[in-house]
Amino acid sequence: MAYNILVVDDSETVRAVIKKTLSLAGVEVGTLYQAGNGQEGLEALKANWIDLVFADINMPVMTGIEMVERMASDGMLKTVPVIIVSTEGSATRIEQLKSAGVSAYIRKPFTPELLRKVVDEVMGARHG
């Protein structure tokens, strides 16, 4: 099954790495959307059908956490799973993110195998 995926990160390099790693991981991607901050991410979510979001935490204009909180308060967007991809390693932070509605957390740097495992877990849970 191909997923429409949104990648939200202020770094073009990171967006390119996630795109490449999705391909290496064998994740079927329908359309890949990209956004440079949380605000652009919300706009992309409202304008397109998106199955899964990868988001960084620290971004200008709107952070990943703020974006997730806005999604959680939106009737439609709250159903879209978000995987945070970040450099931070705090277990406390990860718990905070999950309380805010994040589905999973991947710490950089990550392998294609880990990415695939997390996507399967998140999307598998979604489809029950």
Partner: protein
């Protein structure tokens, strides 16, 4: 810098460079590094929360396309590698910062990280960084590199 702390920072940095950019960072004596590496750039970011401080990474400017090419799987002379060089350097710094903070503080404390920036580094700036007690010197695939972790 305390030698144990320095070793932990060096190990975290080397590990990130190897896993993210497929380049090998070896700790070096500061005397081995040039006082003027030619055109150089500085990537810098701040952290706050459990601790406050900055992390800075100085590299020769011509190393950036190589980093980008390795991270993205491109040929070094690919135009994309040239234009994405500074962004790739910021990402190396970003991941290094997260790794160093977790290594030194453990996995419970929460930190807020700033968005990294990249600046041109004048020879005086390189020398100041190299001479700083809080900095560490490396050779990364034969490039001279300086890393400074400052905790306030």
């Amino acid at each position: 810098m305390d030698s144990e702390r320095g070793e932990k920072i060096a190990r975290a940095f080397s590990d990130v460079f190897e896993k993210l950019a497929f380049m090998f960072a070896e700790p070096a004596e500061k005397a081995e590094l040039p006082d003027d590496p030619g055109d150089a750039v500085l990537a810098r970011m701040r952290f706050s929360g459990h601790w406050r401080g900055t992390l800075e990474l100085a590299v020769p400017a011509d190393m950036c396309p190589e980093i980008a090419a390795n991270v993205l799987g491109l040929e070094p002379d690919d135009e994309t590698a040239e234009t994405r060089g500074p962004d790739a350097l910021k990402e190396v710094l970003n991941v290094t910062c997260g790794s160093i903070l977790t290594t030194l503080a453990g996995d419970q404390p929460v930190f807020d990280l700033s968005v990294p920036e990249v600046l041109t580094l004048e020879p005086e700036g390189w020398k100041e960084l190299l001479d700083s007690e809080e900095s560490l010197a490396f050779t990364v695939d034969e490039h001279a590199v300086v890393l400074r972790f400052r905790q306030q």
